[in-house]
C-alpha cells in the first residue's frame, strides 16, 4: 500500500502528465506481459501468428472474457462469484431445452438469460440483503445450480442441431467471429457502466469503503444486488455462447472450474481482491493471457504434464513481472 502510494505520489508531484501516464499504465496492466508471451510463442511456432490462429485464440478467450467482465464487477465490490460456471451450464441447458419444446423454439435466448439472471439475483439477495459472506453463498450456488443444470436435462446431453440461435456462435461480421464481437460488446457495456455511469462510481465506492459508502447515502445493498445479478447475466451470456457453439448443452460437463479462469483473468488484470481498484480493460488483457497461454502450449506441442507446470509458472511470473515493471500498479 504505502509503496504504491509513494511512487504514484511522486508522479503526481512531478507533473500532471505524470499522473495520467501512471493511470494509463495501470489500466494497460499486463499488456506488456501479453505481448512478451505472444512474442515467445511466435518464435516457437510459425503457426501462432497466422490470421486463423489469432481468430481461434480470440474465440477461445471470448466466453471467459464475458464471464470475467461480470466477475470484475463483483470483485470490485470486494466480493467473489464462484457460481459462474454452474450458472453458465444451467443457462445453456435451459436455452437448448426450450428450443426443443415445440412452439417455443425461438425463446431459447430469453430463457437462458432469464435463468441466469434469476440465479444471479439469488446470489445478490443473499449477499446484499441477507448479508451472508459471498464466498459461501456462491460456493453453495456452485453446487446447487450444478445439480439443477443436470436435472434440467435429466443428466443427459441436450442436442439441437437446428439450434435457432446458432448464429450467435457461427457468423462473422467484417471478418470478425460473432463470439468475439459479442465478447467485445459486453466488454464495452461493462466499461461504459464502470466509467460513465453513477452506478459505476458507486461500485468502486462500495468496494473501496463500504461503510463510508453507506454514510454517503449510497444504497450499498442495491449496488451489491446489481453486481451479482450482472455477473449472473454474464454467465448466462457465456452459456448461450457455449450452447450456440456446441449446438448442445450438458449439465455436468459445461463450465466446470470456469470460475477459476474468470477470477484469474480479473486478478491478472490488476483488479484487487480488496475491492475498489481495477478496470475492465485489465480483465480483457488477463483473459487474453490465459487464452494465448493455453493455445500456444498446444500449438507448440508441449506435453500435457509440462503444460500444467508451464502454465502455473507463467501465471505467477506474469504478476511478478508486472510488479517489477510498475510497483505502483499492484494493490495487493
Amino acid at each position: 500500500m504505502s509503496d504504491r502510494a509513494i511512487s504514484s505520489r511522486r508522479a503526481a508531484n512531478g507533473n500532471v502528465a505524470g499522473v495520467r501516464l501512471t493511470t494509463a499504465l495501470r489500466t494497460l496492466g499486463m499488456l506488456p506481459v501479453l505481448l512478451l508471451l505472444s512474442f515467445g510463442f511466435f518464435m516457437a511456432s510459425d503457426r501462432f501468428l497466422t490470421a486463423q490462429n489469432i481468430s481461434i485464440v480470440l474465440q477461445q478467450a471470448a466466453i471467459n472474457t464475458v464471464l470475467a467482465s461480470g466477475m470484475t464487477f463483483v470483485i470490485l465490490t470486494a466480493g467473489i462469484d464462484l457460481s459462474v460456471g454452474s450458472i453458465l451450464a444451467a443457462a445453456a441447458m435451459t436455452s437448448v431445452w426450450i428450443t426443443l419444446v415445440p412452439g417455443f423454439e425461438h425463446f431459447g435466448i430469453a430463457a437462458g438469460l432469464l435463468t441466469s439472471l434469476v440465479f444471479g439475483l439469488v446470489n445478490g439477495v443473499m449477499v446484499a440483503v441477507a448479508r451472508l459472506p459471498p464466498f459461501i453463498v456462491t460456493l453453495g450456488m456452485l453446487t446447487a445450480v450444478r445439480g439443477i443444470a443436470r436435472l434440467i436435462g435429466h443428466d443427459k446431453t441436450l442436442i439441437n442441431t437446428e439450434l435457432p440461435f446458432a448464429y450467435v456462435a457461427n457468423t462473422a461480421l467484417f471478418g470478425v467471429h460473432s463470439l468475439v464481437l459479442l465478447a467485445l460488446v459486453f466488454v464495452l457495456i461493462s466499461w461504459w457502466i464502470l466509467r460513465f455511469t453513477v452506478l459505476g462510481i458507486r461500485i468502486y465506492a462500495v468496494g473501496g469503503n463500504a461503510s463510508a459508502a453507506r454514510l454517503a447515502g449510497i444504497r450499498v445493498w442495491l449496488v451489491l444486488l446489481f453486481v451479482y445479478a450482472y455477473s449472473g447475466l454474464m454467465s448466462g451470456v457465456g452459456g448461450l455462447m457455449s450452447a450456440a457453439k456446441l449446438y448442445s448443452a450438458n449439465g455436468l460437463q459445461l463450465g466446470q472450474a470456469y470460475e477459476l479462469d474468470a477470477i484469474a483473468a480479473v486478478i491478472l488484470g490488476g483488479t484487487s481482491f480488496v475491492g475498489g481498484i481495477g478496470s475492465i480493460w485489465g480483465t480483457v488483457v488477463g483473459a487474453m493471457i490465459i487464452a494465448v497461454l493455453t493455445n500456444g502450449l498446444i500449438l507448440t506441442g508441449v506435453p500435457d504434464i509440462y503444460q500444467y507446470i508451464i502454465k502455473g509458472v507463467v501465471i505467477v511470473a506474469a504478476v511478478a513481472i508486472d510488479r517489477l515493471r510498475l510497483p505502483a500498479a499492484s494493490g495487493s
Binding site: Q52, N53, I56, Q60, T161, K245, L246, Y247, Q253, I298
Partner: protein, 286 residues
Amino acid sequence: RDLTSVGIISGPLGNSFYQSLAAGAEAGVKKINPAAKATVTSYEGDLNKEFNLIDSFIAAGVDMIVMVGADPNAVTPVIKKAQNNGIVVVGMDAAANAADANVITDNRQGGEIVCAHLAEKIGGKGNVIIINGPQVQGVIDRVTGCKAALAAKPGIKIVADKEGDSSRDSGFSIMQTLLTQQADIAGVFAISDPMAIGADLAARQLGRDGIHIVGFDGSPEIVDALKKPTSVEASASQNPYALGEKAVQVGFDILNGKPPMEKLVKAPTGLVSRDNVSSYQGWLTQ
C-alpha cells in the same frame, strides 16, 4: 498422402487407461511415419475444452485427429468443421457419431460379462451395489450391460447406485458410507478399476468379508489386487493401447481412400478374473 502431424485427444491423463490409449495412438503414428508429429492432449471432461482443442488442431494444420468424444453427438459440429478442413477424425474409446470412423470398446458387453461373473460368484442372489461414474456414454453402457446381466437372476437386488469420480478415493468413501447404510451386501460393481480397489480397501478396513467386487478396465492395479487376498473378483479387460493404435491405423487408411468396412469398430472385452489373471497380458504403455 503421408502422415505428418496428428492431434490426439485422450481422457484425463492421470488415469493410466487414457495414458495407455494415448501411448497406443502415438505409437500408431510413429509406426506409420517415425518423423510425424503427434500432440497428446486431454479434454478433461469439458465439452468446451474439446471444441477448443480441435480448433487449435485445425489451426495447427494436423492431418488427422483421434479423439475420445466427450459426448457421442454433441461434438458433431466441431468434427464437421475439422472434416471441412480436410482433417480425418477418428473416435477412440468413446464413439463420436460424426467421426469418419470409431474404434471403441464394447462397454455394454464388458458390463455384461463382468456382472455375469459377479452374479455367479454371489450364487445368483443377494444385494448388489453399483458404484457409478460420470454420466458419459461409455459409463452408461457399462451400467446398462451390468444391469442386464444381473436382471437375469431374480434373486439379485440392486440396493444402491452411487456416482463417484472414478478415483480410488471416491470409491473408498462411497463404499465406506454404503457399507454403513446396507447391513447385507453380497456384491459390488464399480464402473472403473480404481473405484473397485477403493471399495475393496474400505470393505477390508471395516472388516466386512464375503463381499465380491468386480471392476472394469483390466488395469495393472486390478491385476495386482487379483493376485492378492482381496475381495476383488474380476474386471472387464480392455486393451487401450491396441484401441489407440487401431484408431490411428483406421484413420490413415481413410486418409488414403481406404475406409473400413464398418464405421464403428467395436473391440470386445475379455474377462480377467482370479482364475485367469496369471495369463493376462495387461496394458502396454510403450
